[in-house]
């Protein structure tokens, strides 16, 4: 039996032997999905490198490691997260909610929200708002053909639930801080659900942090439904320690005339795998998927996208950039899928990478699958190093080599950073990426993050 098969059996056993604890968390609607997810996970197994979608991401060495504990119920240790954590982005006016090891933090300060907007833990939502959960939970993330989704669905207990009702404009972004903090190495399951009803507007910022040097394996899944005429932004900032493994799945369902942007900035982490699935299910909708990753040491950062054009007249744009140093590896696996009926589709995809060291490795697989003739689709991918002519140009103007190199890398990254809509965050990111590229840790100072 391979290591991953052993792990699969361990996880299945863990579920069977703790079924009561898991189902006993007072989230009845979430429980309905567990049995079939269990079967799916049992059938599918953890993807190996033989799995086409995981060809370039070797999960084995990351998922099987030290003895991980599993938090099956929220820990009752009293830690005041407000003391431990302050977001230090100046002038970033957000409404903050904290999530600790996948569980919505009980002592979150109440935030002032427009009428009808709901922000709470997913477990709480499944008790309080069963009709919303029933309508959307598990509808976009299908467990039957993705074992990591199945694994998440099997163990999912809590996470964030956000509901923006019809015609409501949420002008201040909601900042969700996912904190991993434990005295033991830990597996974390996090499940979020975001519902944006017709003609509503909002934006969410996820910050993923580790507050200690322990090893974490996070399986995070976010389902997002956006109704007609909506405008929604999701920015994700991943800054975790080098022992952490994060598999983050985002499933997006867009109705007509909607406009959705995701921007994922991966600054630090052991293994980061971001899967984004978007289905454009209404005419005239727009989807933008942006990403930037900076990797060094022996980190692995991998981006997987699948943009599915199901209806006519939709536009999608993908831009993923990576800078790789040391022995780090990166992967991009993007797909544009256009259905038969989805005429007048415009879909673009671009992946640019810079390799800074001899030992860094990048694999990219930009794919198009098109079943329709009335489309404009393109994709492009480049892998290379900094432009020597540009370097020479800058140096000939009296700027030292290191600085010139830094300037170019920064300019390269800036294309993605420039797309961040929250100004304060953008400013901050510029600074963080700048420091990250200089080899300093781009940590938020007050996070007290222990990186290694």
């Amino acid at each position: 039996m391979t290591k991953l098969e052993t792990l699969q059996h361990e996880l299945l056993d863990l579920f069977t032997s703790n079924k009561e604890t898991i189902t006993g968390q007072d989230a009845p609607l979430l429980n309905e999905f567990r049995a079939s997810a269990f079967d799916d996970f049992k059938r599918l197994g953890i993807p190996t490198k033989k799995h086409e979608n995981y060809k370039y991401t070797n999960l084995e060495s990351y998922l099987t490691g030290p003895e991980y504990s599993y938090e099956l119920a929220p820990l009752n240790f009293e830690v005041n997260l407000d003391d431990l954590f302050h977001c230090d982005i100046p002038e970033l006016a957000t409404r903050i909610a904290l999530v600790l090891n996948g569980f919505y933090y009980k002592h979150n300060r109440p935030v002032d929200l427009p009428e009808g907007v709901i922000l709470c833990g997913l477990a709480e939502a499944s008790r309080e708002y069963p009709e919303l959960i029933k309508k959307h939970y598990g509808k976009y993330a299908k467990a039957e053909n993705d074992s990591l989704v199945a694994l998440n669905t099997m163990f999912a207990q809590d996470g964030v639930f956000l509901y923006i009702p019809k015609n409501v404009v949420l002008d201040t972004p909601i900042q969700i801080i996912n904190i991993a903090f434990s005295l033991m190495d830990l597996r974390i399951t996090r499940r979020n659900l975001i519902i944006v009803e017709d003609s509503a507007q909002g934006s969410v910022l996820f910050c993923d942090h580790t507050l200690c040097g322990k090893s974490f394996i996070t399986n995070s899944l976010t389902e997002i439904y956006v109704g007609e005429n909506t405008n929604f932004d999701l920015t994700r900032l991943q800054n975790e320690n080098g022992n952490s493994t994060q598999i983050s799945n985002t499933f997006i369902h867009q109705e007509g005339n909607s406009n959705l942007t995701t921007n994922t900035l991966s600054l630090h982490g052991g293994l980061i795998r971001n899967n984004t699935y978007a289905k454009l299910n209404g005419e005239n909708s727009y989807n933008n998927t942006y990403g930037l990753f900076l990797s060094d040491g022996n980190q692995h950062m991998s981006t997987f996208t699948n943009i599915h054009h199901a209806k006519p007249h939709c536009t999608s744009d993908q831009l993923v950039k990576g800078i790789l140093n040391d022995t780090s590896t990166g992967a991009f696996n993007g797909k544009i899928y256009v259905d038969k009926g989805a005429i007048k589709t415009e879909a673009y995809q671009r992946n640019n990478n810079i390799l800074l060291s001899k030992t860094a490795k990048m694999n990219t697989k930009p794919q198009l699958e098109i079943y329709n003739d009335d489309v404009k689709c393109s994709h492009g991918a480049t892998i290379g190093q900094l432009d020597t002519n540009a370097l020479f140009y800058i140096r000939s103007r009296g700027i030292v080599y290191e600085e010139a190199r830094h300037l170019l890398m920064y300019a390269f990254a800036n294309e993605v950073i420039g797309k961040i809509k929250l100004e304060a965050l953008r400013e901050r990111m510029i600074d963080m990426v700048d420091r990250r590229l200089r080899g300093e840790l781009g940590a938020c100072e007050n996070c007290k993050i222990i990186h290694n």
Partner: protein, 482 residues
């Protein structure tokens, strides 16, 4: 406008396959199916030495452990490998000393295909090895070539006359364990062409192999081996056709190319196997493994292919850039219509320093067809300064077809510069309008645009082929628009 276009499209799709005739010639067949005895029988029929039989049996035994690949973007039907005849040969004398001894039916067949076997009447300087079903019928201009030391003959003759060369190079690029179809070919291959260009020789004429399937229910398994010694040059052409039949026929070939220091090999294919009728009935299943190795420094291999035929095409002409400063090019036009399916592309494996590769792929899909580009660019750690440029464009004609792109880029060296770009679109209505405005009717306008679209690739073909390919494109697609 669209009504008119639909009409034109219908006309085009009903175009008959013009090479679909059969030759009534007495054919020698062996029983259906495959087993060790069949492999031995084929080997015996070809009067092969013991080592060749050993090679075949090794391959056959390995094949038994393999499964048909499921990864291509193709709807592959179950193929019953026991329902195929693995050897068919026109009866009569297997070897001809002069053209007069060749069965007139055969000569007529090749004349109808536009491949004259008669050297006297031959205008263009092309040497042809004509292969019908499982055997080579005639190789022209052999003597002229022999004067220069060039060996150009059928594979079976090469096994007998140049066993050292065959032993040394056969299977060195495509080992018998390579893949399902290559292994099957290694076990049962019947004939093919062998070409050896000695050191410093520039082959004065185009060498060509013409493959023709004639017998029913048979599979064709040929093998081509081209060895270019130091400082040599050769341009090689390959053409193929088959009769129209309702059942599907299997074709699994291997092409191996070895280029030594400073050698250059240019390999061009116009693949026009019978594609099946407009309802998707019949047609050839074409599973081909083509691979070259730029073994020596500064060597060059270029693949040019025009793929218009076959019901299913599964073909990835590849190149291993082993030497330093080696170059490889891949130019492809793949056209699919009606129910055809194609999954084709290339692999460029960079091992040597400063190796360069260029990939230009143009896919055109019409009717209910599916056309995929699948390519790999792999740069190993040793390949400092590797350079690749890839462009794959797809054009869709009609709203029921599909065009797909599956590129794989695996880069393990920081000094490599790799670029990939791809677009998918239909013929621009504005382009058609522009042509219409200047007095071209829609049909001609589309022909013009398609030819312009494929020009980059067609330009790389040797002259005789370029004309044929252009005509072929026109037949397949002229006038179709979505």
């Amino acid at each position: 406008m669209s009504v008119e276009n639909d009409k034109i499209l219908t006309e085009v799709t009903q175009n008959e396959y013009k090479y679909g005739f059969t030759t009534s010639i007495e054919t020698e067949l062996i029983p259906k199916g495959i087993n060790e005895d069949v492999v031995r029988l084929i080997s015996a029929k070809k009067e092969e030495p013991e080592w060749m039989l050993e090679f075949r049996l090794k391959a056959y035994r390995h094949w038994l452990t393999m499964k048909m690949p499921k990864w291509p973007h193709l709807k592959l039907p179950e193929i019953d490998f026991q329902d195929v005849i693995y050897y068919a040969a026109p009866r009569k004398k297997p070897k001809y000393d002069s053209i007069d001894e060749v069965d007139p039916e055969l000569i007529d067949t090749f004349n109808r295909l536009g491949i004259p076997l008669d050297e006297q009447k031959h205008l263009a300087g092309v040497a042809v090895d004509a292969v019908m079903d499982s055997v080579s019928v005639k190789t022209t201009f052999r003597e002229t070539l022999a004067e220069l030391g060039i060996i150009f003959c059928s594979f079976s003759e090469a096994v007998k006359e140049h066993p050292d060369l065959v032993k040394k190079y056969m299977g060195s690029v495509v080992p018998y364990t390579d893949n399902f179809f290559a292994t099957l070919n290694s076990a049962v291959f019947s004939d093919g062409s062998f070409c050896y260009i000695p050191k410093g020789v520039r082959c004065p004429m185009e060498l060509s192999t013409y493959f023709r399937i004639n017998a029913a229910n048979t599979g064709q398994f040929e093998r081509t081996l081209i060895v270019a010694s130091d400082d040599s040059y050769v341009s090689y052409l390959e053409g193929c056709t088959a009769p129209m039949r309702d059942e599907n026929q299997l074709h699994a070939a291997i092409v191996e190319i070895i280029a030594h220091d400073n050698a250059e090999v240019k390999y061009s294919t116009v693949q026009n196997w019978y594609p099946g009728d407009k309802n998707g009935k019949g047609g050839i299943y074409n599973f081909v493994t083509k691979r070259g190795i730029c073994k020596g420094d500064n060597s060059k291999i270029s693949w040019t292919q025009v793929e218009t035929g076959s019901a299913i095409t599964w073909k990835y002409p590849s190149c291993i850039l082993k030497g330093n400063n080696t170059t490889s090019e891949f130019y492809s036009v793949a056209v699919t219509n009606n129910h055809q399916q194609a999954d084709t592309g290339t692999k460029m494996i960079h091992i040597g320093k400063n190796s360069k590769s260029t990939i230009i792929s143009k896919g055109i899909s019409a009717g209910l067809s599916q056309n995929s580009y699948r390519g790999l660019v792999k740069v190993l750690k040793s390949a400092d300064g590797a350079r690749n440029f890839t462009q794959c464009d797809s054009m869709l004609l009609g709203d029921k077809c599909g065009a797909h792109t599956f590129p794989y880029l695996e880069i393990d060296n920081e000094s490599a510069i790799i670029e990939h770009e791809a677009t998918t679109s239909k013929i621009g209505e504005d382009q058609i309008f522009y042509c219409n405005q200047r007095g071209l009717d829609t049909e001609n306008a589309i022909g013009l645009i398609i030819n312009g679209y494929a020009k980059e690739v067609l330009n790389k073909l040797p002259m005789e082929f370029a004309v044929e390919a252009q005509k072929l494109l026109q037949i397949s697609l002229e006038g179709s628009v979505g």
